[in-house]
Symmetry: C2
Subunit: 119 residues, 2 copies
Amino acid sequence: MKKEAQLFKSLADETRLKMLWLLMGREELCVCDIMGVLGTTQSKASRHLRYLYHLGWVSDRRDGVWMNYRLSVAPGSPEDKQLKLLAEILGSRPEAQALRGRMEQWLASKGQSKDAAAC
Amino acid sequence: MKKEAQLFKSLADETRLKMLWLLMGREELCVCDIMGVLGTTQSKASRHLRYLYHLGWVSDRRDGVWMNYRLSVAPGSPEDKQLKLLAEILGSRPEAQALRGRMEQWLASKGQSKDAAAC
DNA sequence: TGACAACATGCGGTTATGCGGTTATCAGAT
DNA sequence: ATCTGATAACCGCATAACCGCATGTTGTCA
């Protein structure tokens, strides 16, 4: 059951939990968005995202200067099921809903400024 | 989501995972049983069981010399749901089934000797 | 090419975690 | 009361995780 222990270890960090939660509610997010919504530092955001990347939970896509991340688990795979269970656990927390709200707000205020980026 | 991170942290250890799994398949187990099935040391078994005890996952019951542990989550509680999800994740692993088998075998061979204990 | 923006990473420090080994406690038997 | 076996608490060590800071890398634009 080493694999499962490793799985839970990857979820045993509040920052990573929040990142996954945000990504579950959006197709794609760039590092600066996650920084903004979570109010964390660039180094911290980037490091945890790479952590998830190396575990195969997320994939990256370069768009000019921005690096976008998205969930990358194959539909129907065990990881996909585990992610759904995670969503079930997190979704019952009001804090999670508030986080979603803050994300929408952040993305909206970002969209207002001229054309695209406001990081 | 600090609470959830803490939850996963408590599951991020293979020994604790196996202990929970064993307890899910049996009303009650004493420390020496868990030691025997998992092939671990007394100190290690006891420490992780106390860890789970302080988190509220298990309760203890003294029976003379032996200390018995059992799952203690209230039916219908969030913890109960989380435990069911955990069972779902672990149950799909053949290794988990093998562990159950070893437990049955251990308990059977223990029952053979005279009346009760053979730790 | 040079300046700048977004992101990644190496490094050092701090803290948390797991483990083995030892000691203390507790309940029952003599 | 004392002795014994089962379990719990403690200690010290090694390792791993997380963090901030500074620096490196990559891409854009003038």
